[in-house]
């Protein structure tokens, strides 16, 4: 039976958007899935489980134009071990920018890891406007692509998908400003305070 291990490599995994994407994937995948967060202390335990799964899906955000350190450190530990069975590795990546292709470098890094370490590379879903899309009516587009990702992995017909908010960039700038203003307000921080040009008060 095909099973997918979903590993959340977000630095804020328990309260991350990546967790929400993983939940969606589990909902749409027709086989069994298991979800776990990558933590600094659980790499060995996660790696031990790999042989039980046909597929491994990494879910993570774009950090500084590439893969987050949480994932980088896990991959470095993974390359020290050869599991009895190497699952096919797929990737679900999101960035806060509207262009899903800003995720391309991180995807290429994952492909390179797979090539260097003999893991088959599977499907990719690149999400743009990933910080906000979950809380907008555009979630229907996201759902459709996550469904396609899940189906491609289930059928082993691996493909590359991408999704973002279907709005002009100028409108995205306005929408993202409102999103961040509201975020700041919840923390008692005004727009003017958030726009400070000072770094460490200087």
């Amino acid at each position: 039976m095909d099973k997918v291990l979903i590993l959340n490599a977000s630095p804020r995994a328990p309260r991350s958007n990546s967790k929400e994407y993983a939940k969606l994937f589990s909902k749409f995948y027709h086989g069994k899935t298991e979800y776990l967060d990558i933590k600094r202390t659980n790499h060995a335990a996660l790696i031990e489980k790999l042989s039980d799964f046909s597929d491994l899906l990494f879910v993570f955000p774009l950090y500084a134009d590439s893969i987050p350190v949480t994932l980088l450190n896990f991959l470095k530990d993974l390359e020290q071990v050869t599991p009895a069975r190497k699952p096919t590795i797929s990737v679900l990546i999101n960035c806060g920018f509207i262009e899903p292709q800003q995720n391309d470098i991180a995807v290429e890094m994952m492909r390179l890891f797979c090539k260097e370490n003999g893991y088959p590379f599977g499907s990719v879903l690149k999400i743009g406007s990933g910080e906000a899309i979950l809380s907008t009516p555009f979630q229907v587009f996201l759902n459709a692509k996550v469904k396609k990702l899940a189906r491609s992995i289930f059928l082993h017909r691996y493909q590359v998908f991408q999704v973002t908010m279907p709005i002009p960039k100028r409108m995205f700038l306005k929408a993202s400003s409102i999103y961040w203003e509201e975020y700041g307000k919840r923390n008692g921080c005004s727009k003017e305070e958030m726009q400070t040009m000072l770094i460490e008060g200087k």
Binding site: S16, G96, D104, M194, G201
Partner: protein, 171 residues
Amino acid sequence: MNLVLSDRSLACLEENRSDLTYLDLSKLKIANCVGCFGCWTKTPGRCVIRDDAVKVYPLIAASDRILYVSRIKYGGYDTVMKTILERSIPVQQAFIRLLDGETHHVQRRVLPKKATIIGYGELSSADRQIFCRLVERNAKNMCFESHTIHFCSEDEVEDVVRREVASWTRS
């Protein structure tokens, strides 16, 4: 200000120099970014984790010439350098702007800089290709007005750094 950020010690820069600031990141205590957005939405411009990173990102922002020295892993920066790059997001605002037709974060008081990156290790052609594309992306988000990349083996790092820094004093 001229700044050298390295993920390993560089004997050639150990003596005190008035013309540049050199930081060996491997000797600093810098935790991973926890993705809390505090530096954007709670204490703007200040990271909530008060470790050595808070001394480093203001220097990155204030530099107009910078040299990054990093081991390359899977075509990207290895852990030490990547950790400080992730912890440097207080130099940006949460708000988004258009830059060259693409969406990017608004920068705070960050000087445009001439950047040189020395990527070292046992590098495949794929490592080099991906890294060049990564630095192109970094240029937009890290305020590079120009950038140069040098690849070398670990043994060659000191020589390449020495040559690069000497070229700064000549120019």
